[in-house]
Amino acid sequence: MIAQVLCSVVASAGFAILFQAPPRRVAAGALAGGLGWALYLWLVQAGADPFAGTFAAALLVGLLSEWLARLEKDAARVFTIPGIIPLVPGTTVYQAHLAALTGHVGQAGRLAAETVLYGVAIAVGLAMARWLVQEAGAGRRHCRS
């Protein structure tokens, strides 16, 4: 598990550099990626469905990114993109196309469906994180007024 989490940190940091993230943001993005993957692994090893694990990890990455964005006064996407990298179904997209091109239509369909489901889990996790942070902010403003 430690090797996997380290690899997720390397992957997130690598993509942050690939996407020209400012140096101070690379470490934060890598941390978000490592924590997200650690949660995903922990949940899946505890018997959770991989899609539920992806949703929970995306929610964590989203919350961390929103928090870091407020802390550093930067766009949340600067942290979300590297942080979400270990969870995105990039390899599945490619494998689905390769399966289709090599005549394995059934496998291609299964992989394409998996891609969509993982994508939905990530999108819902990130959207929920944004909504929770916005609601928490609105609640605080309401309490002050």
């Binding site: 090797a3 996997q4 690899c7 997720s8 940190v9 390397v10 992957a11 997130s12 940091a13 690598g14 993509f15 942050a16 550099i17 690939l18 996407f19 020209q20 993230a21 400012p22 140096p23 943001r25 993957w37 006064k73 930067d74 766009a75 996407r77 600067v78 993109i81 590297p82 979400i84 990298i85 270990p86 995105v88 179904p89 990039g90 390899t91 997209v93 490619y94 494998q95 689905a96 196309h97 390769l98 289709a100 091109l101 090599t102 891609t115 969509v116 993982y118 994508g119 939905v120 990530i122 999108a123 819902v124 990130l126 959207a127």
Partner: protein
């Protein structure tokens, strides 16, 4: 930095509003071209227009472009060409958006936009290439669950990244670049297997192509659908399918040729 003052407009009144709409639109275009999300682009343009004091505007953002209208009349349209994910520009645009909200002058906003557009890459090419390869190797370990894939995938991804740098100079269309990258990855993986260094060529090729596969785009499609932007989802889905199909075609071509020549798969 100069402060905006209602008594000292930078340009005459009507031109000043046109100029401010153009500034807000250009800021949005900068964020959109750096792969900022649509909701964020719309919010940034609207916030900038509010800060400038431009009333009653209607902002329409899609992955293809930006339109700003006021009183039913289109005041600004900008088509967005190729998107290049650049978090440095995104970060700088975010800082500029905050400065506009605090009253930055129109002239300073224009200068800042020019500065951000002219930003050069922060990291040297060798580091970016190495980072891409290391990221690919990391993802291969996550997908396969085996640390043994790290080094072979690092090597394949590095060769693919270098090949892409060379191909980039030839000015090939994106689909051709993708096909070539897939073909290079498959060729290197087969050579590694022949040398006894690749455990599973399929996984090595998949890992090696990780920096090129549109993973984030595939996760953006459902996000666009959920936020009620089906046109945007369709555009991104088409881009995802096109890129992945080009990569897979290159790989399939090399694997077919290898099989045709009697090589083991």
């Amino acid at each position: 930095m100069g402060r905006r003052s209602p008594s000292t407009p930078v340009v005459p009144f009507n031109n000043r509003i046109d100029n401010q709409i153009a500034l807000a639109g250009d800021l949005g275009a900068l964020i959109l071209r750096s792969d900022g999300d649509l909701r964020r682009v719309r919010e940034t343009i609207s916030a900038a227009l509010r800060a400038f004091g431009v009333p009653g505007t209607d902002v329409d953002v899609s992955p293809l472009g930006i339109r700003i209208a006021t009183g039913g009349r289109t005041m600004y349209t900008r088509r967005i060409g190729a998107v290049s994910r650049n978090l440095q520009r995104l970060s700088a645009a975010n800082a500029l958006s905050r400065a506009i909200a605090q009253g930055m002058s129109d002239r300073d906003v224009r200068e800042a936009l020019i500065r951000i557009e002219a930003m050069t890459d922060r990291y040297p090419q060798w580091l970016v290439t190495l980072a891409g390869a290391a990221a690919a190797a990391g993802i291969a370990v996550l997908v396969s669950g085996a640390v043994a894939f790290f080094l072979p995938v690092l090597l394949v991804a590095y060769v693919v990244e270098v090949a892409l740098l060379v191909l980039g100079r030839l000015g090939l269309p994106r689909w051709a670049e993708g096909m070539c990258a897939g073909a290079v990855a498959a060729s290197v993986a087969l050579v590694l297997r022949r040398c006894g260094l690749a455990l599973d060529p399929g996984m090595v090729v998949t890992g090696g192509l990780v920096p090129l596969v549109p993973g984030i785009l595939s996760a953006t499609v459902p996000a666009d659908l959920l936020s009620g932007a089906p046109a945007s989802a369709a555009v991104r889905a088409a881009e995802t399918v096109g890129t992945a199909a080009a990569l897979a075609s290159g790989v399939a071509l090399v694997l077919s040729a290898h099989r045709f020549l009697g090589g083991p798969l």
